[in-house]
Amino acid sequence: MKSLLIACFLFVVTANVYATPEQDRLALREFFTQRFPDLDLNEMINGLYAFDEGAREQWLEMEDFPPYEIAIDKGEEAFNTPFANGKSYADCFENAGIGIRQNYPRFDAGSGEIITLEYAINQCRTDNGEAPLPWLTGQLADISAYMAYTSRGNTMNVVIPDDPRALAAYEAGKEYYYTRRGQLEFACENCHMQSAGMLLRADTLSGMLGQATHWPVYRSKWGEIGTLHKRFMECNAQVRAKPYEAQSQIYRELEYFLSYMSNGMELNGPASRR
């Protein structure tokens, strides 16, 4: 009887501490279902516009002539321009790079690394003798926007294979998301779970679900299209935590976790935000 009780206790403890990614994802959806019982969770791919009706109307009007359209066109042109060696981006990706955004980030078993789409784009360039592009804005973001555009309507499908290195990367990203940091001692979770839908000064905070479905994003405050890691760096700085480098290991792990949490949701990038 005693050993049975110990076994039960250990089961409960380990079940809580070592939840699988899928258990995490379902628990997160349940969290937001409880938090916003009248909200269609699929609407959360639209960030703050899922909560703020007034801002949503303005955003929908803006979507008639979306500010990221130029980036898509420029990205398409760059994507289809051959490298000096005659090869192109299409040679580096499955399905010639069309309609695959929903599968990123992915775990690369060879290197043991998390490969984000932007990381893969630059990897493609360096593998073909081209210089890597800057991570945050510009041509890399344009190409990423085009590739996201060709994937619109697909369902997020980030895979965590049965490999301890992949699971460790997921767990590192998860820990990062829930850990308070910076002089203001804010975790990502404090804004995007606890305070989702609430005002932070004049801005409505988006929720964690769907946060990874719509990148890159044209932000009005940036005046240009930028990548998710630009936003990570900005968020860190806003809580007075010294940002890491874009595409650093920890940011790629964070994106891996964050994207997995959006699995099953519609990919709707690129997007525009305030």
Binding site: N16, V17, A19, D24, A27, L28, E30, F31, K174, E175, Y178, T179, R180, R181, G182, Q183, E185, A187, E189, M193, N236, A237, R240, A241, K242, Y244
Partner: protein, 104 residues
């Protein structure tokens, strides 16, 4: 008389020390404070994500030293190091509690 001399010397020495401690910092002291802050920050950064304030305060300390305001330089350098230590303290505390925020 012989027994009173050491007492007098001690009194004078103590008075001198109080005087020295109340004196304005010089370039050597501010240089040492800045070097110490840099070491503390470097050590903290190898372990955790720093606060943005450490680098800002350190830069301000260096600017103050360059402008000859050594008292301010020492104060800012000490503050920069303290912020690095606080970043480590937060990270160590969070290691123990972050799991509590994860929905189960």
């Amino acid at each position: 008389m012989k027994r009173k001399l050491p007492a007098l010397a001690i009194t004078l020495l103590a008075g001198l020390m109080i005087h020295v401690s109340g004196m304005a910092a010089d370039a050597t002291e501010s240089g040492a404070a800045i070097a110490k802050a840099k070491e503390t920050i470097r050590d903290a950064e190898s372990k955790v994500q720093l606060w943005t304030t450490s680098d800002i305060l350190l830069q301000d300390a260096q600017n103050a030293a360059a402008a000859g305001d050594f008292d301010l330089a020492v104060a800012l350098a000490n503050e920069a190091g303290l912020h690095a230590e606080l970043a480590v303290a937060t990270a160590e505390k969070e290691k123990q509690v972050w799991q509590k925020s994860v929905p189960k």
